[in-house]
C-alpha cells in the first residue's frame, strides 16, 4: 500500500514560500504563509488547522484559482501560471446545479471540456456505481439526501480523470453516519485511482483516517507547524476511535493545537 508504487496518474505539487495577502495598503490582510509544500504524485495529504488559518486559500493558490502574492508553485515540475484544468474540486457545499439532474451535473465536465460523450458517460456510470449512486442518475439535487449530493459532487470532480483532487471540508456538512460511509468510499476510490489528493478538514478523525500525511497549520496567517506521517494500513477501519494507533496520532495533533492555544479547529 505504498503510494509510491502505483504512481503515474497523480500530479506532484511543489510550493515554495507561497504567501497570500488580500488587498493593499493599511487594509491589506495577510491570510497565509509563507508555506512550503512537497506533495508526491498519488499522495493523500490533509491540511488541518483552526478556522480562518488559510487552509482554503492554500488550496486555491496551488490550483491556480487565486493569484499568489509571493512565492511560486510547480505542478508536475511545471510552473503554475493559470488555473489547472487537470483537477477536480469538491467544496463543503455540494455546489450542484439545481437545474440539472445528478448525471447531468457530472456530465457538465464533458460538455464544457468538450470530451467524448459516450466515453465520459461510461466513466460517470462507473463512478456512480463506486459511489453507491445507482438509481440517482435522473434525480434533481433537491431529491437527493445531503450525503448523496456530496457523492455526486465527488463524481463530478473525478469523471474527467484529473491528476489531482482538492477537497475543502467535503464532509463538513454531513451527519456522522454519512461521513463515515463516504470517507470509506473515498478511500476505496483513491486506492483504485491514486490521484493526488489535497484534503482540507477540521476533523482529526478524517485527517488521520484518510491521509498519508497530515500537515498541521497555525492560526492566521497560517503556517505549517508540523508534519505527521500516518503509518496505518489501508483500507482503514470505519471506527478508528477503537484503535490504539489512531489514538496515538490523534493525541499528537491535539497536543500541537493545545500548544498553539487553538481549540476551534
Amino acid at each position: 500500500m505504498d503510494p509510491q508504487k502505483n504512481q503515474g496518474t497523480g500530479a506532484s505539487i511543489v510550493a515554495r514560500d507561497i504567501t497570500k495577502i488580500y488587498g493593499t495598503g493599511p487594509d491589506a490582510f495577510h491570510a497565509l504563509g509563507p508555506i512550503d509544500l512537497d506533495i508526491k504524485p498519488g499522495e493523500f495529504v490533509s491540511l488541518i488547522g483552526p478556522s480562518g488559518c488559510g487552509k482554503s486559500t492554500t488550496m486555491l493558490l496551488v490550483s491556480g484559482l487565486e493569484p499568489i502574492s509571493q512565492g511560486h508553485v510547480e505542478i508536475d515540475g511545471k510552473p503554475l501560471t493559470k488555473p489547472i484544468s487537470e483537477i477536480g474540486i469538491v467544496f463543503q457545499d455540494h455546489l450542484l446545479l439545481d437545474f440539472r439532474t445528478a448525471i447531468q451535473n457530472v456530465m457538465l465536465q464533458q460538455e464544457i471540456r468538450k470530451l467524448d460523450k459516450a466515453d465520459m458517460r461510461s466513466r460517470a456510470d462507473a463512478l456512480f456505481e463506486q459511489l453507491d449512486l445507482v438509481g440517482a442518475e435522473d434525480k434533481y439535487p433537491w431529491q437527493l439526501s445531503g450525503g448523496m449530493r456530496q457523492r455526486v459532487s465527488i463524481a463530478r470532480a473525478l469523471v474527467h480523470d484529473p491528476s489531482m483532487l482538492i477537497m475543502d471540508e467535503p464532509f463538513g456538512a454531513l451527519d456522522a453516519i454519512s461521513r463515515t460511509q463516504i470517507r470509506h468510499d473515498l478511500e476505496m476510490l483513491w486506492l483504485a485511482k491514486r490521484k493526488t489528493v489535497l484534503f482540507i478538514t477540521h476533523s482529526i478523525e478524517e485527517a488521520v483516517g484518510l491521509s498519508d500525511r497530515v500537515l498541521v497549520m497555525s492560526k492566521s496567517p497560517g503556517r505549517i507547524v508540523e508534519e505527521i506521517s500516518i503509518d496505518l494500513p489501508r483500507p482503514r477501519p470505519a471506527h478508528l476511535g477503537e484503535y490504539p494507533e489512531f489514538a496515538v496520532y490523534a493525541k499528537k495533533i491535539y497536543t500541537i493545537f493545545e500548544k498553539l492555544g487553538v481549540y476551534n479547529f
Binding site: 490550483s63 455546489l95 446545479l97 437545474f99 439532474t101 457538465l108 464544457i112
Partner: protein, 269 residues
Amino acid sequence: MAQMSTVETSGGTRGPALPAWLKSGLLTIVAVLIVMGVWQVAAIAFDVPVWLVPKPSDFMARFVSDFPLLLHHAFETSKTLLMGFALGVLIAVPLAFAITSFGALERGLFPVIVFLNIMPKTVIGPILIVWFGIGPLVAVLIVFLMSFFPVLVDSMSGFRAVDPRLYYITRSMGASPAQTFFRIRLPASMDHIFAGMKIGVVKAVEGVIIAEFIASSAGLGYLIMRASGFMDMTLMFSGLIMAALVALVFNSGMSIAEVVLMPWARRSQ
C-alpha cells in the same frame, strides 16, 4: 366533506377520483354562478335600472352578441401586452446581468432605476402622447415600463444568488465566459427571473388597460372608455369580463411556461 375525502382515498372503487385542478375549477365555477344568481335576483327584486347596474343576464347576452367586437379588442390588448412585456423582459434580463457584472454600473445606474421604479408609470402617459401621438405604441411603452422593473430587480437577485465558488469549478474546467453564462448563470437564475416575470405579467395586465384608457385607439381599455362615453353599461361590463379573461390567459401562460421551461422546479407535494 367527509364523504369527498373517502371517495378520494378509496380511489378506484367508486370510479376515478377527479384531479385536484378540475375539482378546484369546478368549485370556482359554482361560486361564480352563485354570485351571479344572487346579483340577478337582487337586481330584479329591487328593480335596478340597466343603465345603473346591469343584470348578469344583460351583460352576458351582450358578451355573446358583441363577441366578435370584444374579441377584436381583446386581441389588440393582448398584442400590446405581449409586445410591452417581451420588450421589458428582453431589456431587463441583459441589463440585470450587466449591472451585476460591473460594480461601477450598479453604483451609477441603480439609483436611477430605483427612482424610475417608485415613480407612478402612468404619469409618463401624457408625455409619451406628446412624443408619439395617441396609439398602441404609447400603450406598449407604458406596459414595458410597468413590467420592466420587477423583472430587472428579480433577475439581479437571481444573478447574484449564484455561489461564487461555483466559478472556481467552472474555471478549472476551462469554461469560456459564454459557457459560464449560458450553462450556469442564466439557468441558475431562472427561478428568480420567472418570479420577476410573474409579477411583471400582473403589472403588465394592470398597466395595459390603464394605458389604453389614456393613450390608445384600440384595445379593451379603449373600448370600455368609449362605452363609458355613451353610458353603455352592458358593453362596459362585458369588456370587463373580457379583460379578466385576457389576464387569466396571460397568467396561466406564465405558469405553463414555467413548468415547461423549468422542469427541475417541480417540487414534490
